[in-house]
């Protein structure tokens, strides 16, 4: 546990020292938030049924939160370390190798809390209201950050499998289809049949739906429960795969 804390603290220090690595990850979510609202807010006025009286910003905010937290930053940091040799330095130390992964993931949690808070505040500034109140806002930030942690497992997995910087960098691209084959612009029932089918089998949809329910509807235990289950499932599967790859590294 000490090892995870030590390595996590180091990774957090990295975030503070390289703000230029974190700030650009905020650009895309804030840009999409502003542009999407600007383009469709007349099409979907607050009288639109699925907006429950709010502006379109409330509907888009979860999508931006996902963009803010889903990064390949940890994977990139890890692959850089594999490249420069520090990774071997850690592997030769008498620590649990899993702590190298958990150290990284703990910094994803910290970074996720930071970036999702910024995006959430931006959404509030643009007029969104959190129906579930302050506690709901805290839960939104937490769930978004945990989604970021789960997603980071994917970058880490690619880093460990390929040991290649370019591959790890482009692993982030996988997120685009996952994020857009969702009810990101309109609810499920407004999608074309094909898109609806794809969106319904995409687990990321339920994370968006869960976060959105906290903003637009208030507390909906069912939607939040599914959201938590998806995040936990993703996290467990990706982390387990990373741990297995780590255990078999250079066998």
């Amino acid at each position: 546990m000490t090892e995870v804390l030590l390595l996590g603290r180091r990774a957090v220090r990295e975030i503070a020292r390289y703000p230029e690595a974190t700030i650009p990850t905020l650009f895309i979510p804030l840009f999409f938030l502003a542009v999407n609202i600007g383009q469709v807010s007349k099409t979907f006025p607050s009288s639109t049924p699925f907006l429950n009286g709010q502006g379109y910003v409330a509907f888009q905010l979860p999508v931006s939160l996902m963009f803010a937290v889903a990064t390949a930053t940890s994977g990139l940091a890890l692959v850089t370390e594999i490249d420069n040799g520090y990774f071997d330095k850690l592997r030769v130390a008498p620590i649990r190798r899993s702590s190298i992964i958990f150290g990284r993931l703990s910094s994803d949690l910290v970074r996720g809390v930071m970036t999702s808070t910024v995006v959430l505040l931006a959404g509030l500034a643009l007029g969104a209201r959190i129906e579930s109140g302050f506690l709901g806002a805290v839960v939104i930030v937490l769930l978004a950050s945990l989604f970021g942690v789960a997603y980071a497992g994917f970058g880490i997995l690619v880093a460990l499998r390929t040991r290649n910087v370019q591959a790890t960098q482009s692993s982030f691209l996988l997120f685009f289809p996952l994020l857009f084959l969702t009810p990101n612009f309109v609810p499920f029932d407004r999608l074309s049949p094909l898109m609806e089918t794809l969106a319904r089998i995409n687990p990321v949809s339920y994370v968006i739906v869960g976060l959105r329910s906290l903003i637009i509807d208030g507390w909906d235990a069912g939607k939040i429960g599914v959201c938590i289950a998806v995040i936990a499932g993703m996290g467990v599967i990706l982390t387990a795969l990373s741990l297995r790859t780590m255990a078999r590294y250079d066998r």
Partner: protein
Amino acid sequence: MERSVLDPDSFAPARAGDDAVIEARALTRTFKGGIEAVRGIDLEVSPDEVFGFLGPNGAGKTTTVRMLCTLLPPTSGTAKVAGFDVAQSPDAVRHRIGVALQEIGLDPAQTGRELLELQCGLYGITGRRARTRAEELLELVGLTEAADRRTKTYSGGMKRRLDLASALVHEPVVLFLDEPTTGLDPASRLTVWEEVRRINEAGTTVFLTTQYLEEADKLCDRLAIIDDGQIVTQGTPQELKATMGHDVVSVSLDGADPTSAEAAMQGLPGLERIVAEPDALAVYVENGAGSIAEIVRRLERDQIPIGAISVSRPSLDDVFLQATGRRLEGQEQGAEATQEGDKR
């Protein structure tokens, strides 16, 4: 070096007796695709020795070190380090070894001090003890002034020294150094040599790999020459050089055929051995200065043109040439560009 932070007695089991600190038997590593990087290595390193692994790039030095350091499991064969089997008890080995690999493993975002304190933490040294230990080590490698700068601002020599210090936080029984001076300027190289000697005098066994003859000669108590995944010869530098003979007369042939030059030397008084190279001949004799005249006379007799001629004591390069048919010298500069070959 003061042993104030860790109790050296905690390593007592591994140090007991005169048992070898490193012991490898038929150690082999074959990579995917059937590349045999290490092909059955046997070696023993005694406590308090500086043991050198001399060889060209791609000879299997790094692969051997990675196996001994528990980073890479052997395909077959066994190795014990500090009394523990590297494959059976890797964690026990890791507690007792310090490692500075060829690629200097530093985190550029941290300062030298932070890096050493984190390294302490990974070995269970925390709090004030970690701070004291980091301070001591910074002083040991002369980085006290640069301690609070991020390592990315360090020069190559400073990085190497910090890496060395980070391998020492837990006072290891064995220190592994993979090409500790490759890429360093001559002055930094000397500094690293001094550090290694000091560390060794403080009681740490050192296992280092090098492609530099001078480094092997000056720094190592004993060495093994490795080529193409196998140890071709081992001993103290003096022993190895003595096996070659007393003096070596090096004749560079001006385009002439070495075979005919070799034939011309048959029956030379005091001849110990002849090693032919593509464009040169190394003639090992009892008395070099006294044999020059006769050597020149014989070459002239057979109308073999001479480019240059010199007398010297046999060097490790002569040993290397005898064992492998190639010289190591001269490969050194060009070799740095092709380091990739030795990484795996």
